[in-house]
Assembly symmetry: C2
Homo-oligomer: 348 residues x 2
Amino acid sequence: MKRNLLLVARAAITAAAISSLLSGAAAAQPAGDSLPSWNDGAAKKALVEFVQATTTQGSPKFVPPAERVATFDQDGTLWVEHPMYTQIVYCLERVPAVVKAKPELAKVEPFKTVLSGDREAMARLSMDDLLKIVAATLTGMSVDEFQVEAKKWLDSAKDPRWKRPYTELTYLPMIEVLKYLRANGYRTYIVTGGGQDFVRAYAEEVYGIPPEEVVGTAGGTKYGYERDGKPFLTKEPKLLLNDNYAGKPEGIHLMIGRRPIAAFGNSTGDQQMLEYTKAGGGDRLAMLVLHDDAEREYAYGPARGLPNTKVGTFTVALDGEAKKQGWVVISMKNDWKRIFAFEPASGQ
Amino acid sequence: MKRNLLLVARAAITAAAISSLLSGAAAAQPAGDSLPSWNDGAAKKALVEFVQATTTQGSPKFVPPAERVATFDQDGTLWVEHPMYTQIVYCLERVPAVVKAKPELAKVEPFKTVLSGDREAMARLSMDDLLKIVAATLTGMSVDEFQVEAKKWLDSAKDPRWKRPYTELTYLPMIEVLKYLRANGYRTYIVTGGGQDFVRAYAEEVYGIPPEEVVGTAGGTKYGYERDGKPFLTKEPKLLLNDNYAGKPEGIHLMIGRRPIAAFGNSTGDQQMLEYTKAGGGDRLAMLVLHDDAEREYAYGPARGLPNTKVGTFTVALDGEAKKQGWVVISMKNDWKRIFAFEPASGQ
C-alpha cells in the first residue's frame, strides 16, 4: 500500500514535469519550497542555479529531458554510513542464520568471532574476513529469497544510536534534492559501492528510486530450475562490478549508458564519478557532502582537520580536488537546517 | 534534430499515458489503429487482449505502471538477422581499419582471410576466429570513439539484398508493438545477445529506445585519463555479461532488477527469457517470431520443416516448448501484412 502510494506520487510528479514541458512553460519549478531543510548559502544557490539553467527552455545550458541523469552515491551521501555501513551490519547480523544452516562454520573464523558478539574483536576483522562474511550472507540463495530476507531485516533492525530503523536515517535535505530534481525532469540514479540487490530492497520505498535506477556493486547470478521446472536465479559469489572509485563511471556506462549531468558523493570513492560527470560538455553539477557535524550526525574527514576515518574518507586531497575542479562541498553543519525527518524542525 | 523530435514524441506519448492514468481513465488505448501491419489472427488477438487486461484499471490482471516492463530480443525479433548478424558484418568491415592501425595483423589469421574478401572462406571462420575479430574491432578504443565509428558505419553500410541501410531492416509490425506497449505505459527494453554498446548506437533513433533501456552482451570498460587530465573509458576485451540463453534473465536481473511482464524473441537464445517472464505471477505474455516467409524475408527453423540455420535457430524443441507453455508463435507469413516500412502497403 505504502509502495503504491509512492508510485502514484512519482507518476504525478513526472506527469507534472512533462506537462509543464509540453505546455512550453519556460520556467523551472520554483525552488522556494523545494529545499526547506537547506540554509541559504553557496551550496543551495549552486543547486538551484544549476536546475534552473539546465531546465529552462531557451537557456544556453538547457538539457533535453532524456539526458537529465543525476547520480547519487548512497552511504554517507543519502543516509548515515557511520560507524559501519548498514549492509555490513546486515551481513554480521545474518551470520547466526547462516551458521544455523551450516553448523560447521561455527568453529571457523571469521564466523566464530562474529558469533562471539565481541564488538572489539569484530572491529578488528580484516577485509578478507569481511569478504568471507559478505559472500556467505549475500550469495548462495535465490534472488527472491534474498529480497525477502533483506526486507525482513530492514523492517526490524535498529541503529543503536538513534534507536530507529536504518531506513529512517536518510538525510532530509538530500531527499529534497532527489524530489526537486525529479520534479524538474531529472531521473535520479543511485550509484553505490553497496550491493545493488541490497539497495534495491528498499530504494523505491525510501528514496522513490525504482530497481532499474539502482547501480551498485553487483555479483553474477545463475539461472536454474526448481524441481517443478520453475526457473529462478541464484546469487553467485562472483563479482561483476565493484562500483567504487573508477568502478562508478564504469558502472554508469554499463547500466545507464549516459554520462550524468549531475553527481553527488561524499568520499574518495566518488571522485571518479564526479570527474566523469564534469568532463561532459555544457553545465554539470558535482557536489560532495562533508560530515562536519559531530553533534547532529558524525564528524569525519580527515579533510579540514576533521577526525580521520576508514568509512567514507574525505581526504585533504579530495578537498583540494573539489576546490580545483569547482565541485561544491556541502557542509552538513552549515548548509543543512535539519538532517533527519524525525528531528523537530528547529531554527526556522 | 531527428533525435530531438524522437525525444519529444516519446515525452508526449509518456505524458499521454500518464495523464490517462491520472484522470482515472479505465480503458486501454484502442488497438484498432495501433497494429495496422498485423493481420487479424491469434497473435494479434493475444497481444491486444494482454495489453487490455494488464492496463485496464479494475481488471484482475491489472499491472501497475511501474512494473510494466517488456523485453525484446533484437536480431531476428526486431530486425533482420540473416544471412549474418549485422554486428558481425560491422566487425568484418572494420578489419581493414584495424589492420591499417596495426599492419602486423595483415599476415595473421583470421585477419588475412577477412582481408582477402573471399566470402566462402569467411563463412568457414570458426567461432574462435570470430571472437578474435570481435575483440579486435569492438575493444581497445574509447567508448566515445566506438560510438562515433559505429554510427558512421550505420549511416553508410547497406544490406546487399535490399540495398538499404541496416537500420531500415526493422520489422514494421514489431515497431508497432513497441509503440503500442509504450502508449500503454510499458517500458520497452531491448535484451539482445548483440553488443550493448553497438545496439545503443542506434536504438534510440531506430526504436525509440534510450541507452539505459538496452541490455546486451557487455564487456568491461577501464577508466583512465588523457594527457590533459580528461577522463575517458576504454572498451576492454573482458566479458561481463553474455546476454544469450540463461544470460538473458541474468542480464535482466542485473540491469533492470524486475521480472518482465512481456517478452519477445525468435530463437533458442530467447527461451530462458520467455520462461523467466512467464514464471512471474499474474498475466504474462511470451511471443516468438517464426521466420517462415522466404519470399518477403527469410525462412528458417528447423521447426515446422523450415530450413535449418546456425543464425537464429528456432528448433522443433522450442516449438514444442512454446506449445506446452502457451507462448504465442508469430508467423511472419500469415500474421504480418507488411514486413518493412519501405514496402508498399499491400493487401489492405
